[in-house]
Amino acid sequence: MPNTVREMICIACPLGCGLKAELSESGEILSVTGNSCKRGDSYARTEITNPTRSFTSTVKLTGGTRPVVSVKSKAPVPKGKMADIAEVLKSVTLPAPVQIGDIALPDAVGTGVDIVVTDRVSAA
């Protein structure tokens, strides 16, 4: 079997370079081309081995000036875990006030990544 080429678009920054990764028969990454910077290279490698995304959502608040507050994963999480994290977050409720950086859910679904608050909401 010859080497295969996988095409993808780098999403590490808004430029969106078109990347080509050459894979050997055994699935080993031989080369990455088309990237305008180093981050494109590492994006292609993770996208092939373990695709990750940054995750954002909201969680419920009690006693705040707003009913919900925005949250994000502190680091990118495996793409396949996003739906699971969204599901778990449905049962999370935080008491207001909250600050940017407060932990909403530690170690989300065993990824080792914390879900943190990204906005400031004061108590009503």
């Binding site: 969106g16 909201t58 707003r66 009913p67 793409k79």
Partner: protein, 421 residues
């Protein structure tokens, strides 16, 4: 004089302009904000991707705004009046008057030396689209849905069709999918998307949501509540092709069909407007043709990245500070800029010949081009030329002209920005 500077709008543009003016020595600055809090539209943009250029890290909208909100709150030169609606700007000789209203103060008539317009933009409404059919509930702009979901914690529908591939629509496709809705498709009238490529990848492709190009919604169905839409493919003249109609059941239609700068106040004040950007005509310090009135951010032209809004607004803040301290220079020659050969517009629309700092010309192209060259020329003289792997209407570009190049230009010069074939 009540204030040296009044900034209209407390989103990313207004905050950056006010902070930069303060940094440049302006002492009495007032920000008038229509909402209850600072931050503008960023507050509801809870996804990440903001700040890569400006802060070198990927932040969510509220986090990006938050960094400026803290600085504004701590700055003794800046006063903020939230919940305040500006009704009118009355330009005058050497002083302008801003008329506004809020619950605490009632009607306000405030005089100032300079004004920064930073009102942002709003979404193109459905009325501008002309879709046939009834008027059921369940048709929202993507930004309104974003507010419902992200700030009010309320899901406006379960089965969703998105018309238009603007970034907010794409972001909402992902958001609503993760919240349990079924996003059936995103229809785009044009043969290309108007959103950022990365948003198509991570908001549609990741979830298997089809992006239908050259496709539009031609009818909506349902009496009280939306029950479905009819979509159809369009030809190169954007007319529906008979026989391609398809009925798609859904209870929510999101419109993400473009943004328009919010310039009612600017127009009423008599500021000259650019017909392509729908924003004021400005020089590189973002001063309009009314001395002492500046404009920046999405009110000037719709940006795709907030980082560039911040940078542009800092120029406006610095420009306003210089105007407040020194007034208008006695002699000033402006060179007009112009977009041709595929370049739709250029901001600023004119450049001061005696600029002391490099001038960044922002521009947008009308179509997708691969591996093209863009350049700035004056007559036959080429000033800058750069290769771009990809040019797309959804992505703002820029080229930089140096002060020495400007100084050497003939008196009746025009700076032309174009795509080289």
């Amino acid at each position: 004089m009540d204030y040296e500077l009044i900034v209209i709008g407390g989103g990313p543009a207004g905050m950056a302009a006010a902070l930069e003016a303060s940094k440049n020595g302006v002492k009495q600055i007032l920000i008038l904000e229509r909402a209850e809090t600072l931050g503008g539209i960023l507050v509801q943009c809870i996804h990440t991707g903001f700040g890569l250029h400006y802060f070198g890290e990927e932040l969510s909208g509220p986090e990006y705004a938050g960094r400026f909100v803290v600085q504004v709150e701590e700055n003794p030169d800046i006063t903020v009046k939230p919940d305040t609606m500006v009704l009118d700007i009355v330009p005058g000789e050497g002083s302008h008057t801003v008329i506004a209203v809020n619950k605490a103060d009632g009607l306000l008539e405030l005089s100032c030396k300079a004004v920064v317009l930073a009102m942002g933009c709003r979404e193109r409404p459905r009325g501008a689209l002309n879709i046939a059919g009834s008027r059921p509930s369940g048709i929202l702009s993507a930004g309104t849905a974003q507010k419902y979901v992200n700030l009010d914690g309320y899901m406006p529908g379960k089965e969703v069709v998105i018309l238009g591939s603007g970034d907010i629509g794409l972001i909402m496709a992902r958001r609503m999918t993760l919240e349990g809705a079924k996003v059936k498709m995103c229809c785009e009238l044009m043969p290309y998307s108007s959103g950022l490529t990365r948003n198509i990848v991570q908001c549609l492709d990741d979830f298997g949501i089809p992006l239908k190009l050259s496709c539009t919604v031609i009818g909506v169905h349902g009496r009280e509540r939306l029950e479905g839409v009819t979509i159809a493919n369009v030809d190169e003249n954007r007319r529906p092709i008979p026989g391609t109609e398809e009925y798609v059941p859904c209870d929510l239609l999101l419109l993400s069909v473009g943004l328009i700068p919010e310039n009612e106040l600017s127009r009423a004040a008599g500021v000259s407007m650019d017909r392509v950007t729908n924003g004021p005509v400005v020089g590189q310090d973002r001063e309009t043709d009314i001395p002492g009135i500046f404009a920046c951010g999405n009110v000037l032209h719709v940006h795709d990245l907030v980082d560039f809004v911040t940078l542009e607004s800092q120029q406006a803040g610095k420009g306003a500070a210089a105007y407040i301290q020194k007034g208008t220079p006695a002699e000033r020659t402006f060179i007009p800029t112009k977009g041709v050969n595929g370049v739709r517009y250029v901001v600023p629309q004119k450049v001061d010949k005696s600029a002391v700092e490099p001038v960044k010309l922002y521009f947008r192209v009308g179509e997708v081009h691969k591996n093209a060259q863009v350049r700035v020329r004056c007559g036959e003289t080429e000033l800058v030329k750069k290769r771009r792997p990809r040019l797309a209407p959804g992505e703002m570009e820029d080229l930089i002209v140096k002060p020495e190049q400007l100084a050497s230009l003939p008196p009746n010069a025009v700076l032309t920005v174009e795509i080289v074939k």
